[in-house]
């Protein structure tokens, strides 16, 4: 295998090992330096990736299991950006982990490495291995706050349910191999096109099980059950990483599997018609996430439900089965990255260690820290899809992809719009708490009023997120072009 092809992945993995080693010799009061070095290292990797740019033709390794093309580069950049932000976010959080700081940075790197591989996965082996790398790392990360019962509980739940999902997926892959005799996406596509597939039913069953596994990753109904508990229990930086990194990995794999391996194209061989299934899934996901979030008062759990709904919206782009839809997914995820990281950053700063993340902690935030209040407000507005923020452009493009050129599923659009309306209620509930909240009205306790001092790393994260949300919202054209170029490799109809 050509090592230069995977030099970035190797770099990130090495960075993780180095940080782990360096942690042995770093005194506890200097642990934040490790975070700084990790962020710096990741920034260099990101710079290298940007410098290397996109090759005109996709490069594959000799076995064809690893591909470096526009789509891969786009997602790698997204993951690296998320990794950098999450590392910075972790720096401000590390004193609450009560473990040596080095581990958490190293684990972040390993998960990130898995995501980078996922972005390039072009065979089911690569797909499975990268997903397992991500998930197993997250099992550990989730239960890292070992003094918190909730964290341990979330880790165990995630582990058991995740293992079940992996089992389903492996079974699916086995069925696919049994009928197609290959694991590489392009060969499967060729086989499908040439009509070589003997046991079609078996293949379809395998594909279905595989989709179920991926649906678990993006927390789509009916495989969403784990998400609220894990989001709530995991340490907040990990939740942030889970919400954007793990989810986006699921989506890039979904895009590749559906369009490259299964050739799900409007004019392709009609062997598998997942559009109807996926549209039902999208509708159910949007509704479930939005409805459950309505009365939720725990902030992290609320965002957990909200992120379920978000996955539903992103699925709209896949249901559309066209290039616009695929590009819209990319734009949506990019906007989602900044908003969700901003929201979790504010939550991680606001929640003291053992306290509940009830909505009432937001009271008086605009007095305590105007910057956090503004960032959280904009982040929430972006998630709700209010112009001129990044979230609006993403949601708008997704809906447009389903409506134009022909409304594939008219009822799906109305369900999505209903979800948007419902989401305004709970998102604006957050904003109401920030500016008009009176704290815990059921106790006599006055809300906190002391000003909050932010660490430098937290200020940097908040600023980057603010900038991202505003720039992508105000001037979306470059991102839109990047995304459209990136999805060219999927060879979709316009």
């Amino acid at each position: 295998m050509n090592l230069t092809l995977i030099s970035l992945e190797i770099g990130v993995a090495l960075l993780g090992v180095l940080v782990l080693l360096a942690g042995l010799w770093t005194p506890p009061n200097r642990q934040h330096l490790l975070g700084f070095c990790t962020a710096l290292g990741l920034t260099i990797v990101l710079a290298l990736l940007v410098k290397q740019g996109v090759a005109v033709d996709p490069i594959t390794d000799s076995s064809g299991g690893f591909v470096l093309d526009g789509l891969a580069v786009f997602f790698k950049a997204l993951f690296l950006l998320a990794g950098i932000l999450v590392t910075l976010l972790t720096m401000g959080f590390s004193n609450r982990l009560r473990t040596a700081g080095a581990e958490v940075y190293a684990l972040n790197c390993f998960a990130l490495c898995g995501m980078l591989f996922a972005a390039s996965a072009n065979s089911f082996v690569m797909l499975f291995v990268s997903i397992e790398l991500i998930t197993i790392t997250f099992y550990v990360l989730t239960s890292l706050q070992s003094h918190r019962l909730r964290s341990l509980e979330a880790g165990v739940k995630y582990l058991i349910l995740g293992a079940a999902a992996s089992a389903i997926m492996v079974f699916g892959i086995a069925l696919i191999y049994g009928s197609a005799h290959t694991l590489q996406f392009n060969f499967i596509a060729n086989g499908l096109a040439a009509g070589h597939m003997k046991q079609l039913l078996l293949f379809q069953l395998g594909a279905l099980l595989l989709l179920a596994g991926l649906a678990f990753k993006i927390a789509a109904v009916p495989f969403q059950v784990w998400a609220p508990d894990v989001y709530q229990g995991a340490p907040t930086p990990v939740t942030a990483f889970l919400a954007i990194g793990s989810k986006a990995a699921g989506f890039v794999l979904l895009l590749r599997v559906l369009y490259t391996a299964f050739q799900v194209q409007p004019d392709g061989p009609r062997l598998l018609e997942p559009a109807a299934l996926l549209s039902l899934m999208a509708a159910a996901t949007i509704l479930f996430g939005s409805l459950c979030a309505l009365r939720q008062r725990n902030l992290k759990r609320l965002l957990g439900y909200a992120s379920i709904a978000s996955a539903g919206y992103a699925l709209l782009g896949i249901v559309a089965l066209n290039e616009r839809g695929a590009a819209a997914v990319l734009v949506y995820l990019a906007g989602y990255l900044f908003a969700i990281v901003a929201a979790f950053t504010v939550i991680s700063i606001l929640t003291p260690d053992d306290e509940d993340e009830d909505l009432s902690i937001l009271a008086e935030l605009h007095q305590r820290s105007p910057m956090m209040a503004v960032t959280l407000t904009l982040a929430v507005a972006s998630l709700a899809g209010i112009p001129p923020l990044a979230g609006f452009i993403g949601k708008f493009l997704l809906l447009r992809a389903v409506i134009e050129p022909t409304a594939t599923f008219p009822w799906l659009v109305s369900v999505a719009l209903l979800g948007v309306v419902a989401s305004l209620y709970y998102y604006f509930g957050i904003i109401r708490e920030i500016f008009w909240g009176t704290g815990q009205w059921w106790t006599e306790k006055k809300p906190e009023s002391a000003r909050i001092k932010l660490a430098d790393s937290q200020v940097v994260v908040l600023l980057i997120c603010l900038l991202g949300m505003l720039v992508l919202g105000l001037y979306p054209q470059p991102l839109l072009e990047l995304a459209t170029d990136a999805v060219q490799v999927l060879k979709l109809a316009n």
């Binding site: 069953l205 179920a212 678990f216 009916p222 479930f288 009365r295």
Partner: protein, 624 residues
């Protein structure tokens, strides 16, 4: 090509520097008062210099003769049909307007350094000024109607912020609201007009539109609605006098020289859109505004309100000129008016500053000796406003009168009457406020203001005298047909094609009216201790003082239409929509949500079961 790049760079500098200043003050610099003021002033000085270079270099250069939209940024393109470009349209007209805006803006900021010195919201004030400059420059440079509209609204927002600067004062907060809401009414029409234009021509790009010619009369009038709101024309004029609750430099910048002129500027720039019928209506709206406002100004006692009504009246003049097919005359007056009205407002500001915020002219008096510089500047401004021979206002007012004479004779006579009234009320204002004895302690202790305040007064005095003279070249510049968009000019009569008769009639009538008004004012108000008019005119004077009861009429109308309607709407909303619709729906949704959340019990075994069930459902869906 180099020229084009230079042009774009400079224009972007002019546009973005004030924004940068506003943002950086908002983000942190506001803690240091000096730094905030410095940032804001620096941005506007550089913007002024850039505008000056732009104007000198391009106002008549061949490159600018054919105004081309300079390469901008494509903001958003969705599909083939919907494109919005973020581009600047730099033609001689916008260059002139840029120069006006940045000149007055800079002088006002210098003036504010001293005027606002003791204000607690010093930094906020300068941030507001910078934001305003940014939005105003955006209007001037916008290359398509959508962009124009966005900046149009931004100007409304910044004006709201500045009027309500002293938001703890209820009158100021209310005035801000009134200005904003009244403008919204006009803007609603404007937006409709823009949509109609798109429907008719399929584009919003100003250059492309210029090649296509007029739209329907209705559409033109809808577009005009925007100007009615922003330039405070009858019947939406009510907000401008109240806007005087803002700091006086703000009144000078926004409510005299620039923002209210935006409506007139827009009419001139989009002149090619209006049909002849639309123009007639426009001219009458302008004429009525001019007359009504001049009448109201006669019985005002607050020095700033007198100026506010005079602004209304002069804006009416400009709109009337546009309607009389003379955008050149209108812009000419706009330019000179910007200078002398800013001068008058800043002069009034200096008086108010020196007299401990006393604004009632009957409580002033005797300031001629105590504030010599302010007095002279104010008199120069007043003379320019009244169209006294050889002052700048003389030339521009004559241009408008000649235009009216040539196209619409009744409006010519109306214009002459307004000129007479103008001279009369300005004489009243000057005599009562500056002449005679001091009538209050505040006026007694008045001292001349610091140099930051007198310097802008002196500079603006020079402009108020000189702008109109032919050697200054303004008139020649405006007469040049190449500066106008739209090839046909749509039946406009350029300044240089006015017949000599019209010119002569305008000059004679204008001069006589001005002198007569001044003389009349002198006779009635020289040495007056109180206003003799109310006893002589009776009900008429009361009507003038109470602004012909427009506010009351609107309040009454509001009560009998909107409030009555809203009463029924409220009932319907409360019982049918909220009761049945919203509560019912939200209750049902809430219940579903609560039930669904029962699924998320937290029990691992349940979760695993659900996972398996989900898979089974999927399989079932696939197999059957």
């Amino acid at each position: 090509m180099i020229d084009q790049e230079l042009k774009l760079t400079l224009a972007m500098g002019v546009l973005l520097l004030p924004l940068l200043a506003a943002v950086s003050i908002g983000l942190g610099a506001r803690r240091w008062r000096g730094l905030s003021a410095g940032l804001s002033l620096g941005a506007s000085v550089i913007a002024f210099l850039c505008s000056l270079i732009l104007f000198i270099k391009f106002h008549g250069a061949p490159a600018a003769i054919v105004p081309a939209p300079d390469a901008g940024i494509q903001w958003l393109q969705l599909g083939e049909e919907f494109k919005v470009d973020f581009a600047a349209l730099i033609d001689p007209l916008s260059l002139l307007m840029l120069l006006i805006v940045t000149t007055v803006g800079t002088l006002v900021q210098i003036f504010s350094l001293a005027y606002m010195r003791t204000d607690a919201g010093y930094s906020r004030y300068f941030a507001g000024l910078s934001l305003f400059l940014f939005s105003m420059i955006g209007i001037v440079l916008a290359s398509n109607l959508l962009l124009l509209f966005i900046f149009w609204e931004l100007v409304g927002v910044s004006s709201y912020l500045l009027i309500s600067h002293w938001f703890e004062k209820p009158a100021a907060a209310d005035a801000g609201k009134k200005a904003f809401i009244t403008n919204r009414i006009g803007d609603f029409g404007f937006l409709l007009g823009i949509l109609f234009v798109w429907q008719i021509h399929g584009t919003l790009d100003i250059i492309e539109l210029a090649g296509m010619g007029a739209v329907t009369t209705t559409t033109g009038l809808l577009i005009f609605c925007g100007a009615v709101g922003k330039s405070a024309q009858f019947p939406l004029h009510v907000w401008l006098p109240d806007a005087m609750e803002g700091p006086t430099p703000v009144s000078a910048l926004i409510h005299a020289a620039t923002m209210v002129a935006a409506g007139v500027y827009m009419l001139c720039k989009l002149f090619f859109l209006f049909t002849a019928d639309a123009l007639v209506i426009i001219s009458w709206v302008g004429g009525i505004t001019a007359l009504l406002a001049a009448l109201m100004a006669i019985q005002q006692n607050d020095i700033k309100r007198i100026l506010a009504y005079s602004t209304l009246s002069q804006l009416g003049y400009m709109v009337m000129a546009v309607g009389c097919a003379g955008p050149a005359a209108s812009l000419f007056h706009l330019t000179t008016h910007a200078a002398f009205k800013a001068l008058l407002f800043l002069g009034a500001g200096a008086v108010i500053y020196s007299c401990h915020h006393e604004q009632d002219i009957w409580k002033l008096g005797g300031l001629r000796k105590k504030l010599p510089i302010t007095f002279r500047a104010f008199v120069i401004g007043a003379l320019a406003l009244t169209g006294f021979p050889l002052m700048s206002g003389f030339w521009s007012k004559d241009a408008i009168l000649a235009q009216a004479y040539a196209t619409n004779q009744p409006l010519f006579y109306l214009g002459v009457i307004v000129a007479l009234l103008t001279a009369f009320y300005m004489m009243r204002c000057v005599l009562v406020a500056f002449d005679g004895d001091s009538r209050s302690d505040a006026a007694n202790d008045a001292k001349e203001s610091p140099a930051e305040m007198t310097l802008p007064l002196i500079l603006l005095s020079a402009l108020s005298i000189g702008l109109g003279w032919s050697w200054f070249g303004l008139k020649v510049f405006l007469m040049n047909p190449v500066i106008w968009l739209g090839s046909k000019m749509n039946g406009a009569v350029p300044l240089n094609q006015i017949s000599p008769t019209a010119d002569l009639a305008a000059i004679i009538a204008g001069t006589v009216a001005s002198l007569a008004g001044l003389a009349l004012g002198w006779v009635i108000y020289k040495g007056a201790k109180e206003d003799p008019l109310p006893s002589k005119l009776g009900a008429m004077a009361r009507g003038m003082r109470d602004k012909f009861y427009f506010d009351e009429i609107y309040a009454w109308l509001n009560k009998w239409t909107q409030e009555r309607l809203s009463h029924y709407a409220d009932w319907f909303d409360r019982w049918i929509i909220a009761g049945l619709g919203v509560r019912g729906t939200s209750g049902a949704v809430d219940l579903t949500g609560c039930l669904l959340r029962l699924v998320q019990s937290g029990n691992l075994q349940t979760y695993a079961l659900l996972l398996a069930l989900g898979l089974l459902v999927m399989l079932a869906f696939f197999l059957f």
